[in-house]
Structures are given as C-alpha cells and as structure tokens.
C-alpha cells in the first residue's frame, strides 16, 4: 500500500517503553559523546576544567531528550486537534493510519526531521502558500528574513535572499535566489483533483499532470517561483519497507 507522507502526522504518540539493552546502549553513547566533548574542550582550552562535568553534560543531554519528547507530544496533540477540525483533510489520504512499529528505539523517535531550505522573495506570501495550499504548519517566523514550517515529516526553512542569515551574499558577492529545478515532492491521493483545486485557487501550475514510471505527477510553483512536485503513486510504486 502506498504511504502518504502526511500519514506521519496521524501516528499516535505512544509512551516509549525502551528495552533495557537499548537504554544501556543509549546511555553508553551519551556518556561517550560527553567524554569526547570534554576531551575537545581540554584540547581547545588547555585546561581540564570540564573533567568533573561529564555527569553534568550527560544530565543535560538527558534533559534535552526529555524536553524533546515533551515537545513532540505537544506537537502531536496539536496535530490531533487539526485533524479533528478537518484542517488537514484537504489533500490527505483517507487510508487508515498505520500502526507504529513496535519496539522502536528512542533514537529513531527523536531523529531530526529532514530539513529543506527554500529561498523566497516574500516571506509572508510563501508562508501563506505552504500553509493554506499544502497543509504546512508555521513553527516560527522571524520576519522579515526567516521562517520555519513543518509539513508531514518535513521541516521547511524559508530564507529571504539579501537579508541576514542564510539569505546573505556569499564571500564572492553571489546572492542566493529562488527557483531552480530541484524540489520537494509531496504525495497526494488524487493529483488531478489537487491540481484542479490549486489552479482554481490561483496557484501557478508549471507542468500539468503527466504519467511517469510508477507515479502520476505535476509541478506547481510557490509565489517565489520555487517548484513543488505533487505525485500520486501508480502501479509499481516503490515503498521502502517500514521495518528499517
């Protein structure tokens, strides 16, 4: 069965009940990372001021993990509300939510979200586009130069060319710009209907629906001219086994 990337939004938050051997392995890894950091600090500062602080560093790492888990739970609760309100249903498949894998290690749960950076000339217009038309959520906005959105498992960073941050010029004076052919791809259940709806909403369609080897796809543009690919799985669509 084809997986909808937004299915990740529907996964219930299951309290983590780690296996003891995994907990032990994680603790060893955190300890080893803290010790390595201490060695680096010593090498840099020439002192061993941090030697006694390994325990503190471990505690900090554990605190961060707890904080992270709390944030994820809060996010999941907020997403549940959105789903309940129907706000996420427009292009989201009606497939039943997959069951979360059993015995998933903690490290897999707190793994960083895949992150993509897009350049946009008009930050507000871009945020509106991704949130209204593609179901992204605004995480933070640092106007006028930067915003962070989440959609499915993707963290999308929006940066404005010429402004401080990632938009600033390179050492040789080159300024980043929107556009290009590289793009994020977003799975939808009915690409024809999605394109029709987006067209009605005034979204620019760069390439109408066409058939590929195992998908049907179309290209739309955000207000800055960046491509977003919409695709619908067809026969032969590849899906990575979930038990990875």
């Amino acid at each position: 069965m084809a997986a909808d990337p937004l299915d990740a939004l529907r996964l219930p938050v299951v309290p983590v009940d780690p296996r003891p051997e995994f907990t032990a392995a994680l603790l060893r890894r955190i300890t080893s990372a803290a010790e390595a950091q201490t060695r680096i600090n010593e090498a840099v500062s020439g002192t061993s001021e941090e030697v006694g602080n390994i325990g503190l560093a471990i505690q900090r790492a554990l605190d961060n993990a707890e904080q992270m888990q709390a944030q994820m739970q809060a996010r999941a609760a907020a997403i549940d509300e959105l789903i309940a309100s129907g706000a996420l249903e427009r292009h989201v498949s009606s497939q039943p939510a997959p069951q979360p894998p059993q015995g998933l290690p903690i490290a897999a749960r707190v793994r960083d979200n895949p992150t993509v950076r897009y350049f946009v000339g008009d930050l507000d217009a871009a945020i509106e586009f991704y949130c209204q038309h593609l179901g992204f959520e605004e995480e933070l906005r640092s106007a006028p130069a930067f915003a962070m959105l989440y959609g499915g498992g993707l963290r999308l960073l929006l940066s404005v060319p010429g402004l401080p941050g990632a938009g600033r010029a390179l050492p040789d004076g080159t300024v980043p710009a929107a556009g290009g052919s590289n793009r994020i791809t977003v799975q939808v259940t009915d690409v024809t209907a999605a394109v029709a709806e987006l067209r009605t909403a005034g979204v620019r369609i760069r390439a109408d629906v066409s058939a590929g080897v195992a998908v049907r796809q179309a290209l739309i543009e955000d207000p800055a001219g960046n491509l977003v690919e919409l695709y619908e799985p067809a026969v032969g669509y590849h899906e990575r086994p979930s038990a990875s």
Partner: protein, 141 residues
C-alpha cells in the same frame, strides 16, 4: 519509512550516487534506469534524475511543457546535521568535494554549503544551541 522526498536534477546519476553514498552516508534503494536512482538517509528520500527527452518514460525530469529543460543547481537545498562540522569539512575537502562558502556561525547553527558533482548545493550544519539540536544521533538509517 522515508516520510520526506526531495528530487535533485543531476548530470550523471552514477557519479551522484557515489557522492551521496560515499561522502554523505546515503544508502542506495534502487537504480533501475541510467537516468534515475533513489537513495535514503534517515527519513529523507533523495530522488536523483538526469534530464531526459520528452518521450522518455521517466516523468520527473522531462522538459517543461514550454520546452524549458530541467537543470542541476540553484540555491534550494536539503540540510544534514553533522557532529563536529570543522572536522567533517576537512575530510570532505581532502576528498576533493567542492565548497561554495566557508563555515559560517549563524544564530542556531554552524553551517557550510558543499556541492555534489553536478553543482547542486547541500547544506551541512552543526547545532550551536541545545534547542537547535533535535537528535542525539544523525547517523543514516
């Protein structure tokens, strides 16, 4: 399960596979056509395609309806979190990887941009603040 998918246009799929696999730790999922491959890194699926003519069965890299060819390059990019960016950068330079800029300390992270063999950017970052770090481990899955 990969939950996020990004498509990059490349001139040479084999060279791109070697780069993403050997330099950045991606895993090859499939390479069923000279113009198409699918790689994975954690929850990121990276689809690599070379430009193909309009009649080619591969639909992701044909020219646009107005004839515009798809090309590598641009500034939009995916980002990978690494530990100890300066060390990673030294290793990548020694391996002959092209850098677009020098390491920059931003507000939340230290970052640098490298290029794949076709000139597509990839941003590497190392969190500088605890709250910018989402993972205890960024190893590829």
């Amino acid at each position: 399960m990969s939950t996020v998918s990004v498509r990059y246009i490349v001139d040479d799929v084999d060279a791109a596979i070697a780069f993403y696999r050997d330099r950045l730790g991606f895993r090859e999922l499939m390479h069923p056509d000279p113009a198409f491959a699918m790689l994975t890194h954690g929850d990121l699926r990276l689809v690599l395609v070379a430009p193909v003519p309009a009649g080619h069965p591969g639909g992701g890299s044909r020219p646009m309806p107005d004839g515009t060819a798809q090309r590598p390059g641009g500034w939009n990019r995916f980002m990978l979190q690494v530990e100890d960016l300066p060390v990673v950068a030294v290793e990548l330079r020694a391996a002959g990887v092209t850098f677009r800029n020098e390491i920059v300390d931003g507000i939340g992270a230290r970052q640098v941009m490298i290029e794949d063999p076709s000139g597509n950017p990839v941003e590497l970052f190392e969190p500088l603040r605890a709250e910018a770090r989402l993972a205890p481990d960024n190893q590829p899955g």
